[in-house]
């Protein structure tokens, strides 16, 4: 059933390729319907945790290579919410891509990608996981660099890091397969065997785990790999950025939850010989630190970036950092909080990226200091962004706070003071850069050239409204998401967290989200009554401002000049001047140069460019799959 739906999506995507440019809207509407179909398909699969599909490909040296698909609660949960969210984003894409030049390829590839997305979450052995994973990387690579010519350079980071991750993962899988003790691709079996190996051959087990960690962290852009999202998000199509940031960056975290967390919880519970800190293995503690440091570093990078999509991309990295910190605490509160934060982040970051895409759709401008004052012209977009940043900063009545609260509770109840502090600092910094984006894009003075900017059409507002509704709903009733998460973490062998629809409980405190929301509404009512009591309010022009007595019009002051947005936190940046020498991107640049040289020498051999070689790689993989299918 899953594979059939993939075939259906594949054929549909090829067919939509033949739709003429005039009917772009039709193509993207088909995309939306396909996603609705996929969501429905997943919905019907809920609860069938023993459902599986096996497709034998071929025999190599006595080993049966096959594609194994199985629905686990974890996989189902991820697959369902990503597909639904993708569907919501695709509504936005319908009109956004009406007049785009290069959208035909994107539509086709994105359709395939949404099928591969389910494939990753449904695969039950490492080989299947690897195949889907790599196909996803390659397909997304072509979406991020539309037209195959623009923005090739920056996307190379993404590709190189994906390659590093792929090699690491392949090595780990090979090591597992070659080991006489394991000798299988099956994930569930391997996990148990890795634990046994941990007890017997510590070094080998350790290297396997580290290799997996490298694979997953490079995908999720944790600390040493934290620069690709900024490059890739900045260049990707605007609506795809939402998908990239909300969903694709989470594959690494899914991998962590699938492989690393079970192994580490086995170690926590059953191993006597492992060094522990506060009840979790030292390794896990270190990984939590990687998450916390990522959160802080990405926050500082975001504060200093001037491009709005880069800023949002660094914010994504920081949020992945929070989630990783929560997950590696390994308590059920931490893991549930981590998963919850993944979901929440996907939602609010989609809100942020969609509203930024709406801004770019109307203004064709990306540098924040050239924008300004758009809130007065695009109120729905502004509200979406505002709620997005409130959620992202973890401020109460919205969803981001519920998951951050859970992560804090897990850190506090497991007694990690320094980690808590790091996360707190990152969170305050998040407020800094998010406000900067809010101000530079939506508040302040509206430049003259945007005087006739209008709100986006209703079809584009619809996903924004849906996402806003979701943020508020989850903020008021965290149980909506936490109850399914309880099913997931129970299947992972952790005890479920105590939660009702409106209340969240931890060992040291309890929060009633509904009350929090009502308190805010009540306080707003009090403030509003005071506002009504006051004397009347006069409306004045935007440039009728305090200018020390000088008439701005006579002085030749324009609204653009009166908008303070460029180098917003410059003195703060000055404080970190000594650290500017540490330049991660230069390191990756050197790697990229190395790859390019190698590629060029290959090209000299084959008279093909690197890109064509990549294309050959896909064709080769496709050929192998199709071969296996029929034989």
């Amino acid at each position: 059933m899953i594979m059939n739906s993939f075939l259906f999506v594949f054929i549909a995507s090829i067919l939509t390729g033949f739709i003429r440019k005039k009917y772009n809207v039709l193509r993207w509407t088909i995309f939306t319907f396909i996603l609705a179909y996929l969501s429905y398909m997943l919905y019907t699969l809920y609860g069938y945790w023993d459902y599986s599909e096996v497709y034998n490909l071929m025999k190599i040296g006595g080993t049966q290579l096959s594609i194994n698909l199985k629905m686990t609660p974890l996989g189902w949960f991820f697959a369902f919410f990503t597909t639904v969210l993708n569907g919501v984003i695709s509504i936005f894409s319908i009109l956004k891509n009406r007049d785009e030049e290069s959208e035909r390829g994107i539509a086709m590839l994105w359709m395939i990608l949404s099928a591969l997305n389910i494939g990753i979450f449904a695969s039950s052995d490492f080989l299947t996981l690897f195949i889907f994973w790599e196909l996803m990387t390659v397909v997304s690579y072509f979406i991020i660099s539309p037209g195959w010519t623009k923005s090739f350079k920056s996307v190379n980071y993404y590709f190189i890091l994906s390659l590093i991750g792929a090699y690491a993962m392949l090595t780990a899988i090979w090591m597992l397969r070659a080991d006489p003790m394991v000798n299988t691709f099956d994930i569930q079996t391997s996990i148990r065997q890795i634990f046994i190996m941990w007890e017997l051959e510590r070094a080998k087990a350790m290297s396997i785990i580290v290799l997996f960690i490298v694979a997953f962290f490079s995908k999720s852009a944790l600390m040493p790999f934290h620069i690709w999202p900024a490059e890739a998000h900045a260049e990707a199509p605007d609506d795809f950025s939402a998908y990239l940031s909300g969903i694709m960056i989470k594959y690494g975290l899914y991998g962590v939850l699938l492989v690393i967390v079970p192994v580490l919880s086995f170690i926590t519970h059953f191993s006597d010989s492992t060094a522990m800190i506060n009840g979790i293995p030292v390794f896990s503690y270190l990984m939590a630190w990687v998450g916390a440091i990522t959160a802080v570093v990405a926050t500082f990078l975001a504060i200093n970036s001037n491009d709005m999509k880069r800023l949002a991309a660094y914010s994504t990295v920081a949020n992945v950092g929070y989630a990783v910190t929560g997950i590696f605490i390994l308590s059920s509160m931490g893991v549930a909080g981590g998963i919850f934060h993944i979901v929440n982040h996907a939602i609010f970051k989609s809100a942020i990226f969609i509203s930024l895409a709406a801004v770019k759709y109307r203004t064709h401008e990306r540098e924040m200091h050239r924008l300004g004052g758009l809130a007065y012209k695009m109120p729905i977009t502004f509200l979406t962004f505002l709620l997005g940043i409130i959620a992202a900063a973890g401020i109460p009545p919205l969803n981001g706070y519920a998951s951050k609260w859970m992560i804090y509770q897990s850190l506090l109840s497991s007694k990690f003071p320094f980690l808590t502090t790091m996360i707190f600092i990152a969170s305050t910094g998040a407020f800094m850069y998010l406000f900067r984006a809010l101000h530079s894009v939506f508040l302040g003075q509206l430049p003259r050239k945007f005087d006739d900017v209008r709100e986006v059409p209703f079809i584009m507002q619809l996903p924004m409204l849906v996402i806003m509704g979701a943020m508020v709903a989850i903020g008021i009733a965290p149980g909506l998401i936490l109850k399914p998460i309880n099913v997931v973490i129970s299947s992972m062998g952790l005890s479920p967290v105590h939660v009702t629809y409106f209340d969240m409980y931890s060992l040291i405190s309890r929060v009633d989200a509904l009350t929090v929301f009502l308190v805010f509404c009540g306080s707003f009512a009090v403030a509003f009554i005071l506002y009504l009591i006051g004397n009347k309010r006069n409306h004045v022009e935007p440039l009728d401002n305090y200018t020390a007595g000088q008439d701005p019009k006579e002085f030749g002051l324009t609204r653009e000049m009166y908008h303070f947005a460029f180098k917003f936190y410059e003195p703060f940046k000055e404080m970190f001047k000594p650290f500017e020498r540490i330049n991660t991107s230069a390191f990756y640049d050197s790697i990229e140069r190395g790859f390019n040289e190698t590629g060029r020498s290959f090209a000299r051999l084959f008279r093909f460019s690197v890109r064509n070689a990549v294309l050959f790689f896909i064709v080769g993989i496709a050929a192998i799959i199709i071969y296996g299918w029929f034989v």
Binding site: N538, D544, Y546, A548, G549, Q550, D551
Partner: protein, 190 residues
């Protein structure tokens, strides 16, 4: 003459109560045009302590109730003062400070300093002297408070009602298009 406004200008009702609070909390914006500004620091600080009347300096016209014109006012700054005064939210008051805004003072024959501020903006109170001592300033402020309490200091209403008259006077000095002393120029060329 300046302080005798008709009773019918004053709103009845709640304003009687609110005027009590307004007079007790006069926040001022001193537009430091001339030498008078130097008399304000001693008035504000320990020796005379203006704060005991609830008064204090404010940074912008938006927050201020009281605009102080401290000393002579050149034509060029008159334009800024008018802009500032119009930016202040009502109710608002204006104090002319020293001799210069009253009749030109020692600058009575200057080509660039206006002689009578009351022709261009509604002055609620004038404090004479060159310069007025802090005692005189505080005396002036208490007088202003009294007239606010009686509902007599309604310069902002006068300004609103006679807007055209004020604008005409302002335009006379600010938006001139032809030379004033034409004949003498002609004389000189002969």
């Amino acid at each position: 003459m300046l302080l005798t406004s008709s009773k019918d200008l004053k709103d009845k009702g709640l304003d009687v109560v609110l005027d009590f609070f307004r007079k007790k909390s006069l926040w001022m914006l001193h537009y430091c045009t001339g030498c008078g500004a130097i008399e304000l620091p001693p008035t504000m600080t320990s020796r005379w302590d203006m704060e005991r009347f609830g008064m204090g300096p404010m940074a912008t016209p938006r927050q201020a109730d009281l605009l102080l014109i401290t000393g002579y006012l050149s034509v060029k700054s008159l334009k800024r003062v008018i802009y500032t005064y119009e930016q202040m939210p009502e109710p608002k008051w204006l104090i002319a400070f020293g001799s210069c805004p009253i009749n030109g003072g020692i600058y009575y024959d200057s080509y660039s300093v206006i002689n009578r501020l009351a022709e261009y903006l509604p002055v609620d109170l004038s404090i004479e002297g060159c310069m007025p001592r802090p005692e005189a300033i505080i005396d002036g402020f208490t007088k202003l408070m009294k007239s606010i309490d009686k509902g007599e200091a309604v310069g902002y209403k006068r300004y609103r009602e006679n807007y055209e008259w004020y604008k005409k006077n302002q335009a006379e000095v600010l938006e001139r298009t032809s030379p004033v002393l034409k004949e003498e120029v002609a004389d000189e060329t002969k």
